[in-house]
Every structure is written in structure tokens, then in C-alpha cells.
């Protein structure tokens, strides 16, 4: 009985303390607070886990190399399980903790929070590379150190059209046929669909009906059979790796006979592992180098992965880690520039930080970063890779900006 009472008292004390502490915003000296929203348990956790590890590794690296002009970054990293209500509350918590920027995650929550971050002038560096977020006239505080989904999609279909279609026996006899396979309900998956269909029309494709494949799919035979009726030459996969691998495998097993192009979150080191032989020849957009590739800064990525997350072997780490590093390094650079300008507010991080970057190189195989007050697309050149013998090889660097300068400048921004 006494023990029960003691436990009750301890519980009540902890609860009260938490409430008191919870109501009083924390303060810290010479410290820059940054929030991070990650998904390690939700719908996109197959790629989210590695990204979350990458964020924490990269922040350690920034702190170990002098922080933000001497100020250490204090990272508040939360897993929100890809639930939007959860993300909204966590964002408010970051605001309350006086975070100067947030490293966000999915398209759904990033787009849902977009007007709020604009109102709050909070730089929101997301892992959602939706093109909707690249127009500063609408979403000035949404940023990322990667090529956006729509640009990736346009580049991927263009690369296939340039390199693969001319080798097809029906080349010159008919239009190439194209279908999209993605989870209709997810904003990440559906974000570039309008753009890729536009590009397909521009290149002269015949576009077939879309197939809805969930992010959790492990069996996609019915969708593949539905695709088969249309006899596509090319399939766009807009999901994350797990379900893309399932679709590619089923397409191989059922003899679909089409080539595959994949958005960046479905194209990583796990794809050949999961899909095996079926992954051979699959093409996709990668927004940075793959984990372990021989590019500048990769030695640091590997060193910190080993040091801070030794439980995950290096051979299991993915390109997601590298993408996370790119976002953190870009944000750190923007904060350093803002701090040098004497103002580490959100507005200054945007204006004196990001929007002063011109061909800023973070290494890691990421195209040089360019952000202006009118355009937050970092680059018009997109490397498209292909799986060959289980490895990723560059097929073509598609220069969308160079090939369609007018459309790039006037038409394609922001969708």
C-alpha cells in the first residue's frame, strides 16, 4: 500500500514538473535551436529512417566543425509517423521552443504547414521536393537542397525518350505508350503527375490510365494486369522504394514488357536488393550521390554514420542519409550567412542566407545550389541513373533549362 502511494506521488510529481516545464519555454545560451520532423514509424518509414539518421549525423558534423559561427545547433528531432495532425502540433512545439528553422519531411505536412511557415517566417527545409514549394511568390519559406519532383519526372521521361525509345523496334512506327503507378491518396506520389503527363504530351507519348498502388503494397498484380491491357512502353513509379520494388517485381513476373522510371524516393540502394533481377534497367532520378559514392564530403558522411549510429552497418545506409546531409549543410550555410549579417531570424536566414546562394556547392553529388527571390528551384540539370548489375550508373544529365528555356522560366515554375 505504501509502495502504491509512493508511486502515485512520484507519478504526480513528474506529471506536475512536466507541465510546469512544458508551459515555460526553454532558453539556452549560445545555441541555435532547430526542429526536425521525421517519419520512422509511418507510411514513409522505409525511406524515413535512414533520412532521420542522416539528419542527426549531419547536425553532429556541423557542431563538431564550429557550429553556426561558434554557436552549437540544438536539434529537437521528432518522429511524427506521417500523421499530419501530429506534425501540426510538433511544429507549434518547435515554435514555442524558439527554433529558428525546421527540417521537415513529407509533402502532405509540408504543404499543410506551408501558409503557417510563411506567416511565421520560419524556414522549412523539407524532404518533400514538391515543385509546388519552389515558387517563392507562394511559398517563400519552403526550401530544399534538391531538384524538385516535377523536374525529376520531366527529366526521367525525357532521358528514356532520348536513350531508350530510339532502340525500340516500334520506334518511328507509333507513339510510345506511358502509364503512371502511384498511391493516389498521397500528395508526395501525386505531386509530379501533372508535370510528367505534360512532359509526356510534349514528347509525343500516348498516356494511359493511372494505376493506384499503395505505399504499403506487397502485391500489385491486379494493377500490373490492368496496365498490361494498355501495353505501355514506359511506367512511371511515384511511390517509395518498398512498393516500387513490389510493382517492378510483379511487372517482371507477369511479363509487362515495359521499362520503368522512378521518382527519387523510390530509387535507392534497396531497390536492387528487393527487386533483384527485375530492377535491372530501371531508371530513376537521384537528387544526390548514392551512399558511399566517390564524391566530395562522402568521407565525412561515412565517418559520422559510423561514429554516431554504429548500430546500422555502413552497407545498410542509403542515399537518404546523403539527402539529409545536403539539406542540413544548406541550412547550416544559410544560418552562417544570416548570422554574419547580424540577424539569425527566419527572415534573415531566407534573405541573407538561402537567397544569397549562387552555385553554392555542398558536395555529395548535389547540383550547385541556386536560390533567388523569384525561383527556389536549385538547378535545371538532372542526372538520371540506371540500375546495371545492381549498381547505379548515370544514363544522361538532362538539361531541362537548356532545352526548354522559355518553358523553364515562364511555365514550369511551381507545379
Amino acid at each position: 500500500m505504501k509502495l502504491k502511494k509512493l508511486w502515485s506521488k512520484i507519478l504526480i510529481f513528474s506529471f506536475t514538473m512536466a507541465l510546469i516545464m512544458g508551459f515555460s519555454p526553454m532558453a539556452g545560451a549560445a545555441m541555435v535551436k532547430v526542429g526536425a520532423l521525421n517519419d520512422v514509424t509511418g507510411a514513409t518509414s522505409d525511406v524515413g529512417k535512414d533520412y532521420a539518421l542522416g539528419i542527426s549525423d549531419a547536425i553532429h558534423y556541423v557542431n563538431d566543425t564550429g557550429g553556426i559561427n561558434g554557436k552549437k545547433i540544438k536539434l529537437y528531432q521528432f518522429d511524427y509517423g506521417y500523421r499530419i495532425p501530429e506534425a501540426l502540433t510538433k511544429y507549434k512545439l518547435y515554435k514555442r521552443l524558439k527554433c529558428v528553422a525546421v527540417l521537415g519531411w513529407g509533402t502532405g505536412d509540408t504543404e499543410a504547414l506551408s501558409p503557417t511557415v510563411t506567416k511565421d517566417k520560419m524556414p522549412y527545409v523539407s524532404a518533400s521536393y514538391s515543385a509546388h514549394l519552389t515558387n517563392p511568390a507562394k511559398t517563400p519559406y519552403n526550401l530544399f537542397a534538391a531538384v524538385d519532383y516535377s523536374t525529376n519526372a520531366r527529366a526521367a521521361i525525357t532521358a528514356w525518350f532520348d536513350k531508350k525509345w530510339p532502340k525500340h523496334p516500334d520506334y518511328g512506327k507509333r507513339k510510345p505508350r506511358f502509364v503512371s503507378s502511384y498511391h493516389f491518396a498521397h500528395p508526395y506520389c501525386s505531386a509530379p503527375i501533372k508535370a510528367i503527363k505534360d512532359q509526356a504530351k510534349l514528347l509525343g507519348f500516348e498516356v494511359g490510365p493511372d494505376q493506384s498502388v499503395t505505399l504499403f503494397a506487397i502485391d500489385t498484380k491486379s494493377q500490373v494486369l490492368a496496365m498490361k491491357d494498355f501495353k505501355p512502353d514506359l511506367v512511371w513509379h511515384g511511390n517509395t522504394t518498398m512498393s516500387v520494388a513490389a510493382t517492378v517485381r510483379d511487372a517482371y513476373a507477369l511479363g509487362l514488357g515495359a521499362d520503368h522510371i522512378v521518382n527519387n524516393w523510390g530509387f535507392d540502394e534497396n531497390l536492387p536488393r528487393l527487386a533483384g533481377k527485375a530492377a535491372e534497367g530501371v531508371m530513376g532520378a537521384a537528387v544526390s550521390a548514392f551512399f558511399g559514392n566517390d564524391v566530395p564530403m562522402m568521407d565525412k558522411v561515412k565517418e559520422y554514420a559510423k561514429k554516431y549510429n554504429p548500430g546500422v552497418p555502413l552497407e545498410k545506409r542509403l542515399i537518404r542519409t546523403v539527402q539529409a546531409w545536403a539539406n542540413v549543410l544548406a541550412l547550416a550555410e544559410a544560418m552562417k550567412r544570416a548570422d554574419k549579417a547580424g540577424d539569425l531570424s527566419g527572415e534573415s536566414i531566407l534573405k541573407n542566407g538561402f537567397e544569397t546562394m549562387e552555385n553554392f556547392d555542398v558536395g555529395l553529388g548535389v547540383p550547385p545550389l541556386n536560390y533567388t527571390g523569384t525561383d527556389h528551384r536549385i538547378s535545371g540539370k538532372v542526372p538520371i541513373y540506371e540500375v546495371k548489375d545492381g549498381k547505379f550508373q548515370v544514363v544522361e544529365v538532362v538539361d531541362l533549362k537548356g532545352r526548354w528555356p522559355d518553358k523553364w522560366a515562364k511555365e514550369w515554375l511551381g507545379w
Partner: protein, 368 residues
């Protein structure tokens, strides 16, 4: 736990007193204090974060009220309530964005309030459609038919067709200033909070009154034994369907309310897990109790947030950093564990504890 004992020396002398909402001065005082806390203390002292937490509580209460009505009062188990919330949210959004409202409705900020009512009716009717099988099936079979509501409504209709309206793709954007109630633009957490409190109070008041009426008694009779209820002359199909309508109606209000807290809406806001979560809320709070719905919602949202704040104190330690990151994972586990613990040790939920506490003080010092 149906009887709450009156304090010593308080006696009712007529039916009006017996059915009074606030039967003693103490209760009146308590309710006034609650009113002051809800309308003045919380909005004044709570910051944006806590207001957003309270808004989540309110959304959960509104969502769970319908589930409580169906499961707790009418005995119709549902696992598809998120679909009716989604119908409410999408109807309201479409009405605001697409419907050609007369100019005076827009000018006077009546479009959104009107859309709430229409959305609630549409969600109610939609709920009745999925309640139709309840005329023939019950138990596990009914659970399956209600689950179908989720897959047909959200995964098929909303995702495949409704979301495409206006060529928007999947997410309906709600730019700041879209949601207006009269002259007030609902654009911050405080305003959302006030709207939430008003909606929660209206819904609870109406539902409690309905439960005290002939309809409510019929629902309870059906829950306790549908055959006996039918023998007594209750048209069980009519009352079951009416329960589905009211549950869907409140779900529609929940959905319409939730859009005021968002800048964009997509089908992934209404996953099937949310229906399960709402059932968990009433199990923990107490099945067959409106108090239980509120307690369950507070438990599931506020307690978890407080646990998170405790974890946050240890973020600078090496193990704390990991724990902080994994909090949601622990939260999922805590959700399952809490249901198991409540099922075993407190099957009547938190409402039962509240009832015991009230009776203890009402009868004090002669509580034996």
C-alpha cells in the same frame, strides 16, 4: 455507474429538479468555474503549442462522440468513422472553394458556418447508407460493413474522384482567410480554439439531451437487448439508422471543424487507423459515457504530450536523444498497452473513476 448520489440534505421535489442539468449549487459553481477556465483562463495563458494540443483534444472529442453514440449507447460497433469525418471535411471544403455562394453570404462570413451544417447533413446521410446493413447484421459482421465505409469513401471515392475536382491534384489548398465565421477570419490557434469549444459544447449538449429523450432510451434498450427492445415496440431499424445519422452528423461537424486548423486537406488526413484510435478513446474514457469521451480524448492527446515533455528533459543525454526520436513509436505502444491495461483493470474506463470520485465527495463524510 448510472447513479450519481446527491450530497446530503439535497432532495428533489419535482421532475424538473430531477432532470435538471445542474442539480446543486456546487455543480452550478463547478460549471461556472469550468466555463471561466475554458473561455478565459486557457485562451489567456496557453501558448500556441498548448492551444494546438487542446484543438486536437476537441477534434478527438467531436470525432469520438459519434463513435460513443454508436458503440456506447446503441451497441452498434463501428470501425469506419474516419470516413464520415472525411465526408464532412471534404463537403465543407468543396462548398467553400467551389460553391457559388450569394455575395451577401460571403460578405457576412456565412459560407463556412452554412457549410458546416450542410456537411454534417451529408455525412449523416452517408453514415446511414453504411448503417443499413445493421438492420440485418451485428457484431463482427457489422464491424466489417463499417470498415467498408473507410475503403469505399476515402480510398476509392475521395481519393479517386472527389480529390480531382477542379483539377487540384490530391490536396485541396485552403489559403489563409478562406475560413470565416461572421466577421472573424479563423486564422490562428486561438480562434480555432474558440470555435472548437463552442462546437464541442453544442454537440455535447444536443447529444446529452437526445440521450435523455425517448430516442436515447430506445438506443439504450437496443444496446442492452435488441430483441427485448423490439418486443417492447421499438422500431429497431429506424432507431439504429437514426443513431448512424446522428453519429455521422457529428462526425461531419468534426471534419468541417478540422479544416479550419489546416491549410490543405488530402485523403491521408483520414486514415483507417483514425477510426481505430477513436474506438480506443472511448474504451479508455469509458463506453456509454459522454464524460468518458472527453476523458478518453484528454488522455490520448494531453497525457501523451506531457509524457513527451518529460522525455524532452533528457534530450541531452545519449539515451534521451534516442528516446526523444522514438517517442511516437513508444506512443503507439503506449496506446495498445493503455487499452490492455484499461480492459483488465478499469473496464469501465476513466469515467468510472470520475463517477467514484464524485460520489465519494457527494457522500462525504458518510461514504460507506
Amino acid at each position: 455507474m448510472s447513479t450519481t448520489w446527491l450530497p446530503c440534505s439535497v432532495y428533489h421535489q419535482n421532475y424538473a429538479q430531477d432532470h435538471g442539468w445542474w442539480q446543486t449549487r456546487f455543480i452550478k459553481g463547478k460549471m461556472i468555474a469550468l466555463f471561466i477556465i475554458l473561455f478565459f483562463v486557457i485562451p489567456h495563458f496557453a501558448d500556441e503549442y498548448w492551444l494546438s494540443v487542446f484543438n486536437q483534444v476537441g477534434y478527438t472529442v467531436l470525432g469520438a462522440l459519434g463513435v460513443q453514440l454508436l458503440i456506447g449507447y446503441c451497441g452498434q460497433i463501428t470501425l469506419g468513422h474516419a470516413a464520415f469525418i472525411a465526408v464532412g471535411a471534404y463537403t465543407s471544403t468543396l462548398l467553400i472553394l467551389e460553391f457559388p455562394w450569394p455575395k451577401f453570404m460571403m460578405d457576412w462570413g456565412l459560407a463556412y458556418p452554412s457549410s458546416i451544417i450542410i456537411a454534417a447533413i451529408v455525412a449523416g446521410i452517408w453514415s446511414v447508407l453504411f448503417g443499413l446493413p445493421s438492420a440485418r447484421v451485428k457484431g463482427f459482421y457489422l464491424i466489417l460493413t463499417t470498415m467498408a465505409a473507410q475503403f469505399i469513401t476515402v480510398d476509392f471515392l475521395i481519393t479517386g474522384y472527389v480529390s480531382q475536382i477542379g483539377g487540384r491534384g490530391q490536396a485541396f489548398s485552403l489559403p489563409p482567410g478562406t475560413i470565416r465565421v461572421g466577421p472573424w477570419v479563423i486564422d490562428d490557434d486561438r480562434k480555432v480554439y474558440f470555435m472548437m469549444i463552442i462546437l464541442v459544447i453544442i454537440c455535447i449538449t444536443c447529444l446529452v439531451n437526445l440521450l435523455r429523450s425517448r430516442v436515447g432510451r430506445a438506443w439504450v434498450a437496443i444496446r442492452d437487448n435488441d430483441i427485448s427492445a423490439e418486443v417492447m415496440g421499438i422500431n429497431i431499424v429506424k432507431y439504429k439508422l437514426f443513431a448512424f445519422f446522428v453519429a455521422g452528423f457529428i462526425g461531419g461537424i468534426a471534419g468541417s471543424f478540422w479544416i479550419s486548423n489546416l491549410a490543405a486537406i488530402s485523403p491521408e488526413h483520414f486514415p483507417w487507423f483514425w477510426s481505430l484510435w477513436l474506438v480506443g478513446v472511448i474504451l479508455i474514457g469509458g463506453v456509454g459515457s459522454i464524460h468518458g469521451t472527453i476523458f478518453g480524448s484528454i488522455f490520448m492527446v494531453v497525457v501523451m504530450e506531457v509524457l513527451q515533455l518529460i522525455v524532452m528533459q533528457f534530450v541531452d543525454t545519449s539515451w534521451g536523444e534516442r528516446l526523444f526520436m522514438d517517442f511516437l513509436f513508444l506512443k503507439e505502444a503506449a496506446f495498445g498497452l493503455a487499452i490492455c491495461v484499461f480492459m483488465i483493470f478499469e473496464p469501465n474506463g476513466l469515467a468510472y473513476r470520475w463517477w467514484q470520485t464524485k460520489n465519494y465527495f457527494n457522500l462525504w463524510p458518510f461514504s460507506y
